[in-house]
Point group: C2
Chain length 431, copies 2
């Protein structure tokens, strides 16, 4: 039976490689559409948890995982089982190394594990964000080496993930999906697969175009956040509240979209993805100046915030050295539990280096996770008037809905607001 037929009658088995923020929602969607799904990961804990019907992600319910397992889903660390699968979808992280260069080691090591098992009538799709050309330059050679011919007996596509953790307005099914194929028949296979469980498929002319689309989306976001962060500094110097300015500007019914400043950018996309283009552009002798400027300004925001805290303490005759500081929110954005690349952590680290005694409270993160560059041995503290009053300064870093903002305002000695939650209170320091 051809791949297209198998997809059409839901006999295709879908292999999802990398069971994280992208892979799990994808597994849920394809399982729900009637496909049998095999999930691959290298973390034994992740595999065991899923098979035991536990969700590793806070906003995905155990019940949904259980339902998927009942429908035949299985997680495994045995990559030879990729041979069973008709479609293989790679959803592994693509970080940057310490020199801010693309680190595609997860993609290549994954491909090394599955390539020996490539067979006829298989579809391989890469979803990880990466530089234009990756799919053809990195993955295609493995297919040729396996004695298969792309577009004839094997299909290769790139289809970027568009997950937005915490966004309740859209589901994986309702977010249009970009698909670029190595050949017209590859594209056809990709459209058939994703079209089985996603409402709208957006075909583009090549895998490179699809790769570029994803980068442009996140570059746009990074640059616009960088811009408002720079404008915040200018507005602040002029005595203006940038949040008031933005809220007024966004009443313009065309030609303006509101982005808000903050203590920096975080998460696995915005601080990282744009530099994939920067790196590839160098091959063509080109600079991506907007990306670099946005990166520079966004990366400088934690320092800006830390300096505001120092100044605030100073007005009360206190030094940072020895000061008791409470950080509110260490997740990289509101209402999520993800602290990857969180600017809150960088702020805490800076204050700690200045000698502050730091604490944090985050309803989504009960214990400070072990991170590559930071090792705080802290647990989230519960907020009550006495606790808040016991700190020299309180910094709002992540504006979770769960915080009791009035209680915080009423009991903080010094309150620093990086999210524009407080207005018209001259005692609160904007940062």
């Amino acid at each position: 039976m051809s791949l297209l037929e198998k997809i059409r009658n839901r006999n295709a088995i879908i292999g999802i490689i990398g069971l994280g923020y992208v892979g799990i929602p994808l597994a849920l969607s394809s399982s729900k559409a009637g496909f049998r799904v095999v999930g691959f990961d290298i973390l034994p804990q992740r595999i065991e948890g899923l098979n035991a019907r536990k969700s590793p992600i806070k906003y995905i319910r155990d019940a949904d995982i259980a339902k998927m397992v009942d429908a035949g889903f299985e997680a495994t660390g045995d990559f030879s089982r990729s041979k069973e699968c008709d479609a293989l979808i790679i959803c592994v992280p693509t970080p940057l190394n310490k020199s801010r260069e693309p680190d595609l080691s997860f993609v290549t090591s994954t491909t090394e594990l599955i390539a020996p098992h490539f067979r006829e009538e298989q579809l391989l799709s890469l979803e990880s964000t990466t530089w234009p050309g990756t799919t053809e330059e990195l993955l295609l050679p493995y297919i040729a080496k396996a004695g298969l011919t792309v577009g004839e007996d094997f299909y290769l596509v790139y289809s970027p993930e568009r997950e937005d953790p915490g966004n309740t307005h859209f589901t994986p099914q309702t977010i249009p999906k970009i698909v670029g194929g190595k050949s017209p028949r590859c594209l056809e296979a990709g459209k058939a697969l994703y079209g089985s469980f996603i409402d709208t498929i957006v075909p583009v002319s090549s895998t490179q175009t699809a790769e570029m689309v994803k980068l442009v989306e996140n570059i746009y976001r990074s640059v616009n956040i960088g811009l408002v962060n720079e404008l915040k500094i200018v507005a602040e110097a002029m005595g203006l509240d940038i949040f008031e300015v933005i809220d007024a500007a966004k009443t313009k019914p065309f030609g303006y979209t509101a982005y808000y400043p903050g203590p920096g950018v975080g998460g696995h996309c915005i601080p990282i993805d744009p530099f994939y283009l920067t790196w590839k552009a160098r091959e063509f002798g080109l600079h991506t100046r907007f990306i670099e400027l946005a990166g520079e300004i966004n990366a400088s925001m934690p320092q800006y915030v830390a300096t505001k805290v120092v100044q605030a303490l100073n007005t009360k005759g206190k030094s940072m050295n020895g000061a008791k500081i409470l950080a509110l929110g260490i997740a990289y954005k509101r209402n999520v539990d993800d602290v990857r690349e969180s600017p809150s952590v960088t702020v805490l680290k800076l204050l700690y280096e200045w000698g502050a005694v730091v604490s944090y409270s985050d309803p989504y993160v009960s214990a400070f996770p072990k991170m590559r560059d930071h090792a705080f041995n802290l647990e989230s503290i519960d907020l009550c008037p006495e606790t808040i009053a016991s700190y020299d300064a309180v910094i709002l870093l992540t504006d979770h809905n769960d915080f009791d903002y009035k209680m915080i305002e009423a009991n903080s000695d010094i309150l620093i607001d990086t999210r524009g939650k407080y207005r018209n209170n001259a005692n609160i320091i904007r940062a």
Copy 2:
């Protein structure tokens, strides 16, 4: 009778100073709302034309001007008549000088003309785009000098124009209007006035905030156009069509807004307004790096386009020197007749300097207008197959709806497209 009462019962007389792209729509709206309107200008031709019921703007009909005149509108060059007016609204241009510094001479010369006639219970509103602080630093002193007290017997507001020529989705009445007052009573007067003929008034806390709002709107636009122009160059080097990339990216239902590249930026706002903030920020020791980068990249686009034309001719063994070049569209954007700051003109100038014999066709601009830096003695040519075929190269610079794109494509020897109108035709050069 107090100003507020006069506004409420439509007995207030509204004086509009500067009868151009902003002033005329404003006069029409306020007249339609039942106010008597006096228009002030320094150009005798403009005054005579309006009093003779002629519209000076292509997209405003003579019939609308006639109706306004019938309702009592009168244009005049006698600024002493500002004394008759209860509200004075300044809508004069705020350009940049040759050193790219704010040129507020129209605002100050206008104010010099009306200030001797300031009287009690008058409202003065500035609508011209300018740096935060202008209203208080520049206008307020005239009021004090006239022996009046702002907020007590005289009212001062800043309310930025949000005109978007060619936009048919919104009218002056349906675009929300930002108003910032020097004092609460000033704001109240401003809200009453504009609320009489505009659906939604957005009050902000100060005139400076209102000034900043307008700049942020246009800075956002300038930066996003600069960003896509830079991305266009990178995409082009990688063999990708940036227009295809953007059209695919904009299928993302959140977190992305499409802006399109082009031959540069034009019009009276985007190339100019952002530098008003740049200039003011220097007073605070701050740089506005996004604005400067956007300005630099946008300003370099005509050179990029010109180089593409040179390269295209070169592939056919032709030099620019002596080449016959046809530019399609000299207006700064589609479907308008405005050539102010148009990048098309800069492209033409560059090609002319390289020795090209240049012509243009623009259904909106029948004769090349006299401009500060450019003096082409040209008239728009009519397009037909033979005419187009007679040129060595045709450059699409402004994508007016009226062009016959298929006919142009079929008859051009070399066709250069700066607007993404043509896709999937390898013979057409993207620039």
